[in-house]
Amino acid sequence: MKLDPSFIWTAFLQLWSAVPTTLYITVVSVSVGFVIGIITALARIYRIPVLSQLSSGYVTFIRGTPMLTHLLLIYFGLPMLVDGLSAHYGLGWNSAKIPMIGFAYISFSITAGAYLSEVVRSGLLAVDRGQMEAAWSVGMTTPQALRRIVFPQALAASLPNLSNSVIGMLHGSTLAFTVSVVDLNAKAQIVASTNWKFFESYVAAALIFWGLTILIERITGLIERRIRVYSKGGVA
């Protein structure tokens, strides 16, 4: 078998149609995961009873098991739960109505939540306690202090880790093909097997992933430069 460089371009064009799916999965899982991450990180830092133990358990379990396993657990477990509840309460739900990508959204959000919980926690811990005290001393309430003083600094501190997680979720989204979601990688497989040009299609997929990753790095760089002006140092 010989390499067909021109097919890389052909595949490249055909793969574009799957890029939105990959991006949707990434954006949804990171956004929902970020919210989960903030809640669980705060619960653990402030040692809120029950919630903090639940959060710690969630984080260790999810980080201790592979992302593919989460997807399969949700894929096989969720329908049982939905149909069970539906039968018990007569809700008329049907698990067959859940779109395939829904399983990916749910399970990857759970995955991202655990990793982002650690990202958020390290960001919050990076903010000096004196910042909170200063906010209290000017009369702010704890929620005001968190929102206006602590969170912006925590975000700046956790940006590199955050971008790392986004890239991880972008690449991890390829696992969605196991539940028949046609993401970038699954599309590459389809293009490859219909043309018998596997290597070329996967090269095209790799290039697109690389491009998207560079884009994420650039965007992070821009945000970082904007929100970290304050730590430049030197004398004004």
């Binding site: 005290e133 200063a134 009369g139 002006v229 304050y230 004398v235």
Partner: protein, 250 residues
């Protein structure tokens, strides 16, 4: 007027404050002296409720808080009556000098942005930083940061400003500029409680000096009396180190 009544605070089994009573009149400048571990900083932090006292009452102006039954609302209203100047400055590091000063005005006092800016600029000019309005804390020297910290406290027009060793983290060269600012605002009749190791400064700025050791007030009085003629043995011992030269030679 500030009145502390039977303030107690323990960290674990160690009782750092063993029932402190202190009255500070309006316009008075009180200096608290004492060795490390005497509880003076803890006392100051209790007044701002950055530490929760285990017992006692704190009265600032017409507001009294009983530490045993203090709710969130009580704590917030107590804090709004005082402002703290920290040893490590603790300026909001993601905000400029001006934003630091007006943050409390806008968020807590609900002053309009324009008016707050005007007041902030006035205050920064007053502490000699009119040219550094848009500088971030990381771009300022320690002395400049501490002066922003003082402006931030002044902006809130609290009934008392609490200074927690305001010059201890500074280069010896920068101590003077900060003390000069504190001295100037002391003359304006603002009530202040200052925890300090600057004996000379305490002696000439304070109207009232408190000496603490081991979680209690050992002795208090006017500066001439306390520095010139201390009554307690512990006070004499402490002050001796600052008034006499070292007895050994190198």
């Amino acid at each position: 007027m500030i009145k502390l009544n039977g303030i107690r605070k323990s960290f674990g089994r160690h009782e750092v404050l063993q029932g402190i009573d202190l009255t500070v009149n309006k316009g008075e400048v009180v200096a608290i002296l004492g060795p490390s571990g005497s509880g003076k900083t803890t006392l100051l932090r209790c007044i701002n409720y950055l530490e929760k006292p285990s017992d006692g009452q704190i009265q600032i102006g017409d507001f009294t808080l009983d530490c045993k039954h203090a709710g969130k609302k009580d704590i917030y209203s107590l804090r709004q009556r005082s402002a703290m100047v920290f040893q490590q400055y603790n300026l909001f590091s993601h905000k400029t000098a001006l934003e630091n000063v007006i943050e409390g005005l806008i968020v807590v006092k609900k002053v309009g942005k324009e008016e707050a800016r005007k007041r902030g600029i006035e205050l920064l000019e007053k502490v000699g930083l009119g040219a550094k309005l848009d500088a971030y804390p990381s771009q300022l020297s320690g002395g400049q940061q501490q002066r922003v910290g003082i402006a931030r406290a002044l902006a809130l027009e609290p009934e008392v400003i609490l200074f927690d060793e305001p010059t201890s983290a500074l280069d010896p060269e920068l101590v003077g500029e900060v003390l000069a600012v504190i001295r100037r605002i002391a003359k304006e009749g603002i009530t202040m409680i200052i925890v300090t190791h600057e004996m000379g400064f305490a002696q000439d700025v304070a109207n009232h000096v408190v000496f603490m050791d081991g979680g209690v007030i050992v002795e208090e009085g006017n500066p001439a009396e306390l520095f010139g003629n201390p009554k307690e043995e512990r006070t004499k011992q402490f002050l001796k180190r600052f008034t006499t030269e070292y007895s050994y030679s190198i």
